[in-house]
Symmetry: C2
Subunit: 215 residues, 2 copies
């Protein structure tokens, strides 16, 4: 029976440097958080099991606590990672100076609808999901999730302020209140899209927001 | 040592009728569902344990399956019980012919704000909570929860239609779309009230709904 050339027996002994080991550890941590975002968005935080997570990532059983002091610390890392990912997405639209301010917000709305369809309306927004699940159970998570929403609101308020300055929106509007209203209703629209398995609630919310509220 | 007069030894043997036993069983079932509504609203469905539930109600361990074929069937009973309770609350306001139609809806909004404060913004709406948690995981729950929301929307659309008929709302409005928008955004406002631990998001949503959307 021929020995496979891929067998470790045939390989020269490999010396793994301290730096390389640190890189693998960092990658495993990143991978655990990435998978955690997926799991928590689909199933929730409390029922997402550590062993299931390690298995999905292919990390050794029991290695979780090399990377995180507790499941709570892991939850914080998951929220932070999602917040960063989402801010990049939102900023890509709202900072696009080639488009008018209100068109940028409409672009974001369109992309969000495509994103919901892509995952068959099963994922939604991690901040909405965990906010619903955890805000009554854990003060740290509640304030962390609320501060993420506030950061998205500040960015949206800036965009609406630009629309006021450029004359596309009446000066009678308060960009801060409007941004607050937008994110409050938009999270409701995401939830309803999951319930109806369709983008219709997101479209209706956007139609009334742009067509009546901003009028 | 005197024998306690409360000891069963002193009691004449009590014959419990078939009817009485059935009534106790019915009460236990009702009590399990009532407690289930509380638990599921605060913690979610998946993490609400059957043993915890039985302990809270004071029912014997292992008695759950006398009342429900499965935890799923129990979840359905919990949703139905909440839907009935909530419909009574909504109807009490929206059927109150001594008030103008839009005032009735505003009354409901005011009561909901007081209800959220009463439980320190920890409970919110069972349909929103379970919708967020379960709609991506279980098709039966998803359609059941969505149909509950649709029933609240139909009732709200009737009220808005009355407002159009009485001239308090422009005939340019579509009561069905408005009711859809109201419930979509309102569920978002309840979620945000949990996140901010305040009624401000509910008030802002109502202010813009009545002040701008219905204008």
């Amino acid at each position: 029976m021929p020995t496979s050339t891929n067998s470790p027996i045939d390989q020269p002994s490999i010396r793994v440097s301290h730096k390389e080991r640190a890189a693998v550890r960092r990658d495993t941590k990143t991978e655990l958080v990435r998978c955690g975002v997926e799991l928590c968005t689909e199933k929730g935080f409390q029922v997402s099991g550590i062993n299931d997570l390690l298995q999905r990532v292919g990390a050794p059983k029991g290695s979780f606590y090399h990377h995180f002091a507790s499941k709570h610390e892991f939850g914080e890392a998951v929220i932070d990672a999602y917040a960063e990912y989402f801010a990049r997405k939102l900023n890509r639209h709202l900072d696009d100076c080639t488009r008018k301010p209100l068109t940028r917000l409409a672009d974001f709305v369109d992309e969000a609808q495509r994103g919901m369809a892509k995952f068959d309306y099963k994922r939604g927004c991690l901040v909405g999901n965990l906010g619903q699940e955890l805000s009554g159970l854990d003060e740290d998570f509640r304030t962390r999730l609320e501060s993420v929403l506030c950061s998205w609101e500040r960015k949206t308020a800036e965009c609406l302020r630009e629309a006021v300055e450029s004359g596309d929106l009446s000066t009678a509007h308060d960009p801060v209140l409007l941004a607050n209203f937008f994110w409050t209703g938009w999270e409701g629209a995401i939830l309803r899209a999951k319930l109806t398995k369709s983008a219709a609630p997101m479209q209706l919310f956007a139609d009334i927001f742009f067509g009546k509220v901003l009028r």
